[in-house]
């Protein structure tokens, strides 16, 4: 699958000797074993399709995913963008990739081309809207959740829908599976929020704390170290000790637990949605979901919650 995706981009890069696209195509050989392309492959298997049937959808989702990141870097003024090009040329490359995301679907069976193209286009449009909401920032806690649901899930719902359709699922079954993409996207975004604040590297989240739910929790919840946390946030970039102390408050205030709690709920909702979809074999998608939820499951097991207790409380 990875090489098919890489070749789909390479073919277009070679046609014009387009170096920037070639850089991204070379990287496609190393696509992560998790992500929208892999999700589409798993959805195709779940519907009873051969892996090859998912390749056009996987290539489309990869192109779309890279395009989204190119734009995301521009919006965030990222210091280390996906490709080293002036901003205008990165926007230009994103435009090419959005078109390629539709074009590669020409390799799908004729009866699937229109529904797959519509799914890819809708995913890009919805993500763009989510990006704009995200750029405006969350005014309150409800606003945070609205942004999360608008920004991250569209690519995941598209991956599940496109993969299932490619594997031969009926439109209704593909739609049912796509519903799992919403909690799945929330799960991924919460994990991303935690990864961005719990790691040693200082991510931009600390400069926009209202847009990271862990930081928002520590700033807003009624806990003994709240004032101290407010004082520490502006200092984390200049003072490693302030960064370490702020991270400890994130845990002791319950912010970390809050994220784990909502990740557990999202994982449970995604699992139930997958199981509700009338498909030949749910296992390929559930395996990926379990892999994604493993840090949460392992943490809760570490503090004594058994698997059946997680299910009962879901």
């Amino acid at each position: 699958m990875r090489w098919y995706v890489g070749d789909a981009l390479h073919a277009r890069a070679d046609e014009y000797e387009w170096d920037a696209l070639r850089v991204l195509a070379a990287g496609a050989g190393g696509i992560s074993p998790v992500g929208p392309s892999e999700l589409a492959l798993r959805a195709c298997r779940a519907a009873g399709g051969a892996d090859e049937a998912a390749y056009p959808a996987a290539a489309s989702l990869h192109a779309l995913h890279v395009a989204i990141h190119l734009v995301d870097d521009l919006i965030d003024d990222e210091e280390r963008p996906v490709v080293e090009l002036p901003p205008g040329l990165r926007a230009n490359l994103a435009l090419a990739l959005q078109c390629i995301a539709v074009e590669v679907l020409g390799a799908a069976p004729p009866e699937l081309r229109a529904p797959l193209m519509l799914a890819a286009a809708a995913s890009g449009r919805e993500t763009s809207r989510g990006q704009e909401l995200d750029a405006a920032g969350a005014a309150d806690e409800d606003g945070y959740w609205r942004i999360v649901e608008a920004k991250t899930p569209p690519l995941f719902t598209a991956a599940l829908r496109m993969g299932a359709l490619s594997g031969g699922a009926t439109p209704a079954a593909a739609e049912a599976l796509a519903a799992a993409g919403i909690p799945l996207g929330v799960l991924v975004q919460l994990g991303d929020d935690l990864g961005d604040v719990m790691g040693d590297e200082l991510r931009p989240d600390w400069q926009r704390p209202g847009d990271n739910v862990a930081l928002r929790f520590a700033l807003e919840a009624d806990h003994p170290a709240r004032d101290r946390f407010h004082a520490l946030v502006p200092l984390v970039y200049a003072d490693p000790a302030a960064h370490a102390e702020a991270r400890e408050i994130l845990v002791r205030s319950g912010a970390f637990s809050f994220c784990v709690h909502h990740m557990r709920i999202a994982a449970g909702a995604a699992r139930r949605a997958v199981l509700a979809a009338p498909l030949a074999d749910h296992a390929p998608v559930l395996e990926l979901l379990d892999q994604l939820a493993a840090p949460v499951t392992d943490l809760l097991a570490e503090v004594g919650v058994e698997e059946h207790e997680m299910e009962l409380a879901a």
Binding site: S257, L300, V305
Partner: protein, 56 residues
């Protein structure tokens, strides 16, 4: 999806009533920063991060 707010969650975490197994677990997580540090959330970048090798 059912969704507790920040204030509801914090109140449950800090409450004096006998907690269920999950709230007990969340309290325990809040007491052990070492667990959070080792939870492996860096791997989440594979999902939410750039989808090409060598980027960032």
């Amino acid at each position: 999806m059912r969704r507790e707010t920040i204030h509801q969650f914090r109140a449950a975490l800090a409450g004096r009533t006998e907690p269920g197994p999950l709230v007990r677990a969340y309290r325990e997580l809040a007491r052990r920063p070492g667990l959070a540090a080792g939870a492996g959330f860096a791997a989440w970048g594979d999902w939410a991060g750039p989808p090409v090798a060598g980027a960032k």
